[in-house]
Symmetry: C2
Subunit: 424 residues, 2 copies
Amino acid sequence: MERLPGFRDFYPEPLPSRDAGWSADVRHYIFDTWRSVARRYGFREYDGPPLEPLELYTTKSGDELVGQMFNFTDKGEREVALRPEMTPTLARMVAAHARNYKKPIKWFAIPQLFRYERPSKGRFREHFQFNADIFGETDPAADAELIALLIDSLRALKLTAADFVIRLSSRNAWHEFFERGMRGAEHGTEQEYEFYQIIDKLEREEPAQSDSKLKALGFSLDAVNEFIAAAKPTAELDVILNNLAARGLGEFVKIDYNVIRGLAYYTGAVFEAFDKKGEFRAIAGGGRYDNLVKIISGGKVELPGLGFGMGDVVLTELLNARGLLPALNTRLDAFCLIEDEDLRLASLKLVQDLRESGLTADYSFVPSRPEKQFKRALELNAAFIVKLERTSNGEFALKVKNLKTREERVVDTARVAAFLLADK
Amino acid sequence: MERLPGFRDFYPEPLPSRDAGWSADVRHYIFDTWRSVARRYGFREYDGPPLEPLELYTTKSGDELVGQMFNFTDKGEREVALRPEMTPTLARMVAAHARNYKKPIKWFAIPQLFRYERPSKGRFREHFQFNADIFGETDPAADAELIALLIDSLRALKLTAADFVIRLSSRNAWHEFFERGMRGAEHGTEQEYEFYQIIDKLEREEPAQSDSKLKALGFSLDAVNEFIAAAKPTAELDVILNNLAARGLGEFVKIDYNVIRGLAYYTGAVFEAFDKKGEFRAIAGGGRYDNLVKIISGGKVELPGLGFGMGDVVLTELLNARGLLPALNTRLDAFCLIEDEDLRLASLKLVQDLRESGLTADYSFVPSRPEKQFKRALELNAAFIVKLERTSNGEFALKVKNLKTREERVVDTARVAAFLLADK
């Protein structure tokens, strides 16, 4: 029986074979890093349901996301979708209890997200995404804090300014450009969003095609390219740049108006993280969405917000390509070797005591030759072998062997955990 | 907009209100405990897709599970299901790479599982489940190891022998009973499984109803009750009991043939963990399934297996009822108070330095009165307040205030992280 196309299995290290799929240990290393950096920044963890009403996404996110939704009708005739992104769930959760939280709210989550599109290299039907968001602060200082968190999350994974850059842009800059171009002519928000969609595709589309689309809206590719090339920061972007520079993070960010983000709900600064060699898709992306909570809550709650998402797939590929994934094999503190089967029950008690002391301990379930047990201890990357022996006076002696130094010594049973912990 | 019925939101502590749902911090505390005990036992973490082909479950699990499956047809016309349990996924994964792993294989996971049934108190359409499994060992020593892990997972959450007990039973014992009752009469496995289903429901059904169902198969409730009352351990159960007693865990387990488990695939020892007051559903359950890998792999791989699952819902309710959930409020190492706005950028650098040292640090995004910043520091449960001041000679002085002792002192900026870490 096969797993579904576009889904991943996560195996423990060492991976059984090259095609065995993804490493559960690498995933854990990345999740742990995300978590610890978010906590250092004072972000708190939340989570929501992986399945949500379809309408949570249909009106807010823009066309791109809706077209590749993993949606279906449930047994209760509800239109539902496996969540394609976390922000609408978060906006719903925050709106439901906004009054009970002191602002600003700084939250993060690591949800699994889903989309139904043709799986391709590095593009699955599910991925995990580190989401960090701030609510209740309109000042660009919050945007800077969020971008600093993004930068430090990548740095904590040992990526440097030589590896990645944050391309910073603003919907406000593009809004002003759009309004100037309209010269007061009447227009709806659909037209403006259509314009944003063209900008969003600039780097992926033929110039002639972009130009003709732009001309239909009364713009030209030349004017757009000129605006992008000038890269003149808006007042808000200036604040963000100065704030990041003060933290010593200035080298990680540059103004780049090619970035505009595909989702409809962004309202202010937007940004994307890219590998500097340009070998991969965007590592992360986000921005400000000051109206989303209001939309999701049906106008009941007004709360400015901003956030970013960073997926696990591109990131893992990038870390792998740069040789930055640490060795994550098993490590066992103690393997209990049982030579004398009469001492099996006493050995079980020893293993139990070691585990209760917080040590990782293992042993052979069934009688087996000492050499085989020794081999197993090496396979499990044990630091020590512990072994009970019967002494001439009928008591136990406990021998402890350091597998690195090969040094062996007798240790008091009552002190063995402390002895091993000291070496840990 | 509301979330779907039967799904949960997880909020950070402190919860905004009593009806705000579940605590993400309690969930994290439980997951962390599960993880650390499993690792001490030498179990490695894996994960699989939350969505699987429906047929992975339809033939292997028995009627109960299939009836409440969260299944649908995807956009590619595949019959799929949100995983109702983890074992079939695990069996599929292990079967695919069984040759590449040294045995025994000891793995764990904490998947979210789904079922489509009427939500009720303490019964949702999703829950998280700690799954631990062992492959490649038929000896009951492996069963004992698994049950020891289950016991120690509950003990690590501060539950004691006064709170819970493992009711240990065996499909082998029931198989022998069934065969004796059949006295050599011809019968299929369906009939035997039907018998098991009656036993499984004994404690929930009217005795007269159970008796009449048993009679239809040629058995009687009296004979069944007598067998249960005798509680005579099979040879395998004796080994398990002695093994657990040797570890000092004997008081946590008792033979109880009322337990037989609903799923069709169990083949040997089966067990369930219950709270001793009998106020809750089973906390955990599991057993041996020596044929499942063979069935899932279409006969290609033979590998004995055993495992248990422990859900988060009953467990959280039990811990809550016994007053065993720890306080999990925010704790901040340092709140940076900015009194002089000229020092904001320097303060940002200070916050950055603290965070880079691994400390949790926060500050106010925008200018605000010192009293208000102080109040915020208290809300965030900060251990220290750090504050830059301009000295008469134009340099900075850094003041550090311990919010518990209210002691304040001047600390060298280069040493502040070490100073705070020493107190951590």
